[in-house]
C-alpha cells in the first residue's frame, strides 16, 4: 500500500524523548482534519517552542483532505492533490508523528495514552480528535463470521476505502448506495461517472432530509433520477446477499437489488471508544465545555468526536473552529477563548446537481417568513426562511448563483432587502462584481476556513499578487474548494484587476486582447512580422507588455518561419542565449544526442569540454542525454564550438528529445527497430517551435521501456511492421496515458501522422498548453478525424506547413556562436554580490 503524504524511508518520524526537556507534552489523538489543523494553529501561535508535540493517528497516511475524497472517487482529483500535511511536514515542524498507531485508552490519573503498539505516551495535555466512522446499519449478512464487512461492501470515510472502491469500479457493473444524504449522493454520482449502474436506497421519505424540506427533496430526486441514478425512498435494506462477495441487497418491501458493489453511506458515528474506556463522559459524542474540555481537566476533544452543548457536528468548519479556540486556550494566546457553537452550511460537490443549504429548511415559528421559488421542471427549488428580519435558513437547488450573497446574510445576520424576492432572484441581473463590492468586510467568503472578505483584501494589500498566493496566505479555498470562484472574484476586485491569474484567460497572451485564432488572423492580415509590430498594431494603446513577449515570439516563428523578424528582447533569456538559465545565473548546455544514442568520440569531447570550462556538474538527464550544468554565459559560444554538437533544445518551447529503447537490434523482446525510428523522428522534428515543449519516445514493444505511453507523442512497435502512435501523454506534473491516434504500417507513416499532429497542435494550442491539456480539450476523436481521416481536408496543408518548419531548421549554436546577435549577447549579467551557488559535485 502506498502511504499518502508519506516518506520513502518509513512511516513515523523519530524523535528522541529527552527527559531534560522541560517543555510540557501535548499529545493529539487523530491525524484527521481537526487534529492536524489544531497542530497548525498551535504552531502558528508559537506553540512549537512551548510544547513537545506528539500526534498519534490510526491511519498510516499523512493528513489529507477528507472532504475531497468525493472528487477523488469521481476521478476528478488525484489523491496526491489532497494531501494537507505530509509526514515530512510533521517532521519539518518538529512534531513527532506516529502514524498507523491507534490509541486504545488513557490512564487519566497517570496521564498516559496507551497505544496499539504496546507503548504508553505520557502527556500533560491530551486532545482527542478521533472523528467518526461510517455507520453500518444492522443488516443480515453484511458482516462475515470474523466481523469484517462482506467483500464488496465499503464504507466511505477514508482514503483506503476510497481506493478500494476505485479498485473495484473497473470490475463492477452495478452498485447500490445506502444513504441519500450528502455523502451517499456524492458517492452515487462518483460511481456512476465510472460507468457503473447505480441504485440509491434511502430510509427517509426524501433525499437529504436532514438539510432539505420535503418539496426541495422531491425536486432533487427528479434531478438525480434524470442523471440516471435509480432512487428508492422510504425503504430500509434488511439483508445483504452473497456468499464470498456481495451479490445484492434485499429491501424491507421484498424487492431485491442486484449489485457487485455496496457502498454504505448511511450516516456516521463519533469515535468515542477511547473516551469510554478512559472513563470520560460520553453521550453521543465526547462531552466538552465551551473550552473544548472533557470532564477531565487535561483532556480535550475537538472535531466530529466532540459533543458541545448537545450538538455533534458532521462538517469541517466547526471542527476547525474548535481547533482555533483550543489553540488559543492551550498556548495562552487567549486563555479565556470560548466556543459557542457553529452555524452550518453545506454544498454538494460532485453530484451534477447544485445544492447548497444553510440553517433551517422550513419555518419553525408562526412568525417565520418562508419564501419559495420552485420550478421542478428545471430542477430548481430555492427557498429562504426569515425570522425577525434576519436570514435563518436557505436552500438553493439547481441554481446556486445566489449562494455567496445568502451565505453572507446568513453568517452576519445582516438586514435583508424589503422585497424578499431579491434574496432569491437577482432582479437587476447585475454582474457579480457588484455583489462583491457590496459585501461587507467581515462577510465570510470561505466557510471551511472562516476567511472573510476583509482577510482576502488584506492579503492582496500585503502584496499577494495572484489568487493562488492569496489562497496560500489565507487558506481560503483550501477546504472543500467550492468557494474558489468567489475567492477569485474578491481577489480581482481587491487588486483592481491587477492579478497574476489573468481574467482574460481566453487571450493568447495577457497584453493583446485576442484569442489565438483571431490573433493569428490579425498577424497575417496586417503582415506583422515582429513582436514590436504586433504590440504597435494590436495592443491597447500600442503598449508593450513584458509578459507577452515570449509567447508572441513563439507564435510569430510558427506563423512566419524564416520570414519572422527576430528581436532579442522578445525572447526569454533561454532563447536569447540558447541555454537554460540556472539559479545562480549560469547556464546549462545539453547537446543533441538523437534517440539517446552517443559515441565514444562524443563522450570524449563532452568530457574535454567539461574539464576545460570547469563545468561544476555533468549529469545524465531524464531525457537520455548529457547535461553540462553551471556554464558561464560568456563561455557559451566557446563551449558550443569545442563540443561541435548541435543544440538539444533543452531550454526551449520546442520539440525536444526523442527517447528510445534498444529495440529489435539488441533486445530479445524487440518487435521493431525503435532506435532507428526515434533517431529519424528527432532528425525530422528537431528544434520546431511549439506552444509548449513536445517530448517524444519510441519503444520496440509494449513493455514501454522508454515510456512512450506518457509522452506528448509516443510510438510503440506492436509487431509485423505495425506501430501505434499515442498523443497527449504526460509524466510530469500531470500523469496521463496518451490517446491512441493511429496504428500504421511503416516508419514513414509514423513520421507523417506524428508530424500532422505536431503541426495541428502548433496551430491550435494555447501558449504553454501542453499536449496533455490540449488533446483532452479538443478531444482525441476530433484530432483523429483531422489528422488521420482528413475530415477537414487540411492534411495537405498541415504536411506542407510542417515541412516549411523542418526546412527552416538551423542549429542555433552554429548560428550566433561566432558573431553575437546583439552587442553583449553573452556578456555576464552575474552580479558581484554573493549568490546561492550551484553546488559542485
Amino acid at each position: 500500500m502506498t502511504v499518502l503524504g508519506g516518506r520513502p524511508h518509513g512511516l513515523t518520524s523519530l524523535a528522541v524523548d529527552d527527559d531534560l526537556d522541560p517543555r510540557p507534552r501535548l499529545v493529539v489523538v487523530g491525524t484527521g482534519m481537526a487534529g492536524a489543523r489544531f497542530v497548525e494553529e498551535v504552531l502558528e501561535r508559537g506553540g512549537g517552542e512551548q510544547f513537545r508535540i506528539t500526534v498519534l493517528g490510526d491511519e498510516p497516511h499523512g493528513t489529507y483532505n477528507r472532504i475531497m475524497l468525493s472528487p477523488v472517487l469521481a476521478g476528478e482529483t488525484g489523491e496526491d492533490e489532497i494531501v494537507l500535511n505530509s509526514h515530512d511536514w510533521y517532521a519539518d515542524n518538529g512534531v513527532q508523528l506516529r502514524a498507523g498507531v491507534r490509541v486504545e485508552r488513557l490512564d487519566t490519573a497517570a496521564k498516559l495514552a496507551y497505544a496499539s503498539d504496546g507503548t504508553a505516551a505520557p502527556y500533560d495535555h491530551l486532545v482527542l480528535a478521533t472523528g467518526s466512522y461510517s455507520f453500518v446499519p444492522p443488516m443480515a449478512g453484511v458482516r462475515r463470521g470474523d466481523g469484517e464487512l462482506l467483500p464488496g461492501v465499503h464504507g466511505f470515510r477514508t482514503i483506503d476505502e476510497t481506493r478500494a472502491m476505485l479498485d473495484a469500479v473497473g470490475r463492477c457493473r452495478r452498485a447500490v448506495v445506502l444513504g441519500g444524504g450528502l455523502l451517499g449522493l456524492e458517492a452515487a454520482r462518483a460511481l456512476q461517472g465510472h460507468g457503473v449502474d447505480v441504485d440509491l436506497v434511502h430510509a427517509a421519505p426524501w433525499l437529504m432530509n436532514a438539510q432539505l424540506s420535503r418539496e426541495a427533496g422531491a425536486v432533487l430526486e427528479r434531478s438525480v433520477a434524470a442523471l440516471g441514478i435509480r432512487v428508492h425512498l422510504d425503504v430500509l435494506a434488511t439483508e445483504v446477499l452473497g456468499e464470498g462477495h456481495v451479490e445484492g441487497v434485499l429491501l424491507r418491501d421484498g424487492r431485491r437489488l442486484d449489485c457487485d458493489l455496496l457502498v454504505v453511506a448511511a450516516g456516521v458515528r463519533p469515535h468515542t471508544d477511547v473516551a469510554v474506556r478512559s472513563g470520560l463522559e460520553v453521550e453521543r459524542g465526547v462531552v466538552v465545555d465551551d473550552q473544548l474540555r472533557t470532564d477531565d481537566p487535561d483532556v480535550y476533544a475537538i472535531g466530529e468526536c466532540a459533543q458541545h452543548r448537545g450538538e455533534v457536528y458532521g462538517l469541517v468548519a466547526p471542527a476547525w473552529e474548535h481547533a482555533r479556540v483550543l489553540a488559543d486556550v492551550l498556548t495562552g494566546t487567549d486563555p479565556a477563548a470560548e466556543y459557542h457553537g457553529s452555524r452550518t452550511a453545506t454544498k454538494l460537490k460532485v453530484a451534477g446537481v447544485d445544492v447548497a443549504t444553510m440553517g433551517m429548511s422550513a419555518p419553525e415559528r408562526d412568525s417565520d417568513e418562508l419564501l419559495v421559488v420552485s420550478e421542478p421542471k428545471r430542477g430548481v427549488h430555492l427557498s429562504v426562511v426569515v425570522r425577525d428580519d434576519r436570514l435563518v435558513g436557505a436552500t438553493l437547488l439547481g441554481d446556486t448563483r445566489r449562494v455567496a450573497a445568502l451565505t453572507q446574510a446568513f453568517d452576519r445576520g445582516s438586514a435583508l432587502p424589503e422585497e424578499r424576492i431579491r434574496l432569491l432572484v437577482d432582479l437587476a441581473d447585475g454582474p457579480a462584481e457588484v455583489a462583491v463590492a457590496d459585501m461587507p468586510a467581515d462577510a465570510r467568503v470561505c466557510n471551511c476556513n472562516g476567511v472573510t472578505k476583509g482577510a482576502i483584501c488584506g492579503a492582496v494589500a500585503d502584496g499577494c499578487g495572484s489568487v493562488g498566493a492569496v489562497m496560500d496566505r489565507t487558506r481560503a479555498g483550501r477546504g472543500c474548494g467550492s468557494c474558489k470562484a468567489l475567492v477569485a472574484q474578491v481577489v480581482e476586485w481587491a487588486a483592481d484587476g491587477d492579478v497574476a491569474e489573468d481574467p482574460a484567460a481566453a487571450w493568447y497572451v495577457p497584453g493583446v486582447p485576442l484569442a489565438k485564432p483571431d490573433l493569428v488572423a490579425a498577424i497575417r492580415e496586417r503582415d506583422l512580422r515582429s513582436v514590436s509590430a504586433v504590440f504597435a498594431a494590436l495592443a491597447p494603446g500600442g503598449k508593450e507588455d513584458a509578459r507577452s513577449k515570449t509567447g508572441l515570439t513563439s507564435l510569430l516563428k510558427t506563423v512566419w518561419g524564416v520570414d519572422f523578424l527576430p528581436e532579442k528582447d522578445g525572447e526569454f533569456i533561454n532563447d536569447r542565449v540558447h541555454a537554460n538559465i540556472q539559479r545562480d545565473g549560469t547556464f546549462s548546455v545539453v547537446p543533441q544526442m538523437k534517440g539517446g544514442v552517443t559515441t565514444p568520440a562524443q563522450l570524449r569531447r563532452i568530457a574535454d569540454v567539461a574539464e576545460r570550462y570547469e563545468v561544476p556538474m555533468v549529469k545524465v538527464t531524464g531525457g537520455q542525454r548529457i547535461d553540462l550544468l553551471g556554464v558561464r554565459k560568456e563561455d557559451l559560444p566557446a563551449v558550443w564550438a569545442d563540443l561541435g554538437m548541435p543544440s538539444g533544445y533543452a531550454y526551449g518551447k520546442t520539440t525536444r528529445t526523442v527517447k528510445t529503447c534498444v529495440g529489435s537490434d539488441f533486445c530479445r523482446f524487440g518487435l521493431d527497430d525503435s532506435t532507428a525510428l526515434g533517431i529519424a523522428m528527432e532528425t525530422r522534428f528537431q528544434g520546431i517551435e511549439s506552444p509548449a515543449k513536445v517530448k517524444m519516445a519510441v519503444v520496440g514493444c509494449p513493455r514501454n521501456c522508454a515510456e512512450a505511453y506518457v509522452k506528448d507523442v509516443g510510438v510503440v512497435a506492436v509487431g509485423t511492421g505495425r506501430w501505434e502512435v499515442y498523443v497527449g501523454g504526460a509524466a510530469g506534473a500531470s500523469v496521463r496515458k496518451g490517446d491512441l491516434l493511429a496504428t500504421v504500417g511503416s516508419p514513414e507513416e509514423v513520421l507523417t501522422v506524428a508530424g500532422r499532429f505536431v503541426q495541428y497542435y502548433r496551430e491550435h494550442a494555447n501558449w504553454l498548453e501542453r499536449t496533455y491539456d490540449f488533446v483532452p480539450r479538443v478531444g482525441p476523436a476530433r484530432i483523429r478525424s483531422v489528422v488521420v481521416d482528413d475530415a477537414d481536408g487540411t492534411c495537405a496543408d498541415l504536411d506542407a506547413a510542417l515541412q516549411r518548419s523542418v526546412d527552416a531548421y538551423t542549429d542555433p549554436w552554429g548560428q550566433d556562436g561566432p558573431e553575437p546577435a546583439t552587442p553583449g549577447q553573452f556578456a555576464t549579467s552575474l552580479p558581484l554580490l554573493p549568490l546561492p551557488q550551484v553546488p559542485v559535485r
Binding site: D462, G463, C464, G465, S466, A469, D498, A500, G511, S532, K543, E544, D545, A546, R547, K549, T550, E567, K568, D569, G570, F572, I573, R576, I581, R583, D584, G585, T822, P823, G824, A827, T828, S829, L830, P831, L832, L833, L835, P836
Partner: protein, 113 residues
Amino acid sequence: MSVTDTRPVAPPGVRAHTVGRAEDVPPGEGRAFVAGGVQVAVFRLRDGSLHATQAACPHAGGPLADGQTDPDVLVCPLHLHGFRWRDGSSTGDAGPLTVYPVREVDGLLVVDA
C-alpha cells in the same frame, strides 16, 4: 529606512559614474555594469528611455539584466517577479528594487549611484 532593509544604499555623496557606451545596451535589453562599486543593470526600452536598477533580484539574486521589460515593469528571469520602474516596487510579493538615475551623455551611459 529600517535596519533590516538590505537594499544597496547609495552612499551619502551620490556620484555620477560612467559605466559604458550607449551602444553597449541594445534596444529592449539590459546589461550589467559596475558603477563605483555598485553592481547595476541598465536597460534601454524600445521607446528609447533608459533605466537602471540594482543588478541582483531582491527575491533570490536573479540576474535582472537578463530579464524582460516593458514601459511599466521589469520581469526577473528566474521566478518572473515583476518590478515597477516607477519606484522599484514589486507587482507581487518580492522585496522592492533600488532604482538609480541613468542618462546618456555624449554617447556614454552615466549612472548616479
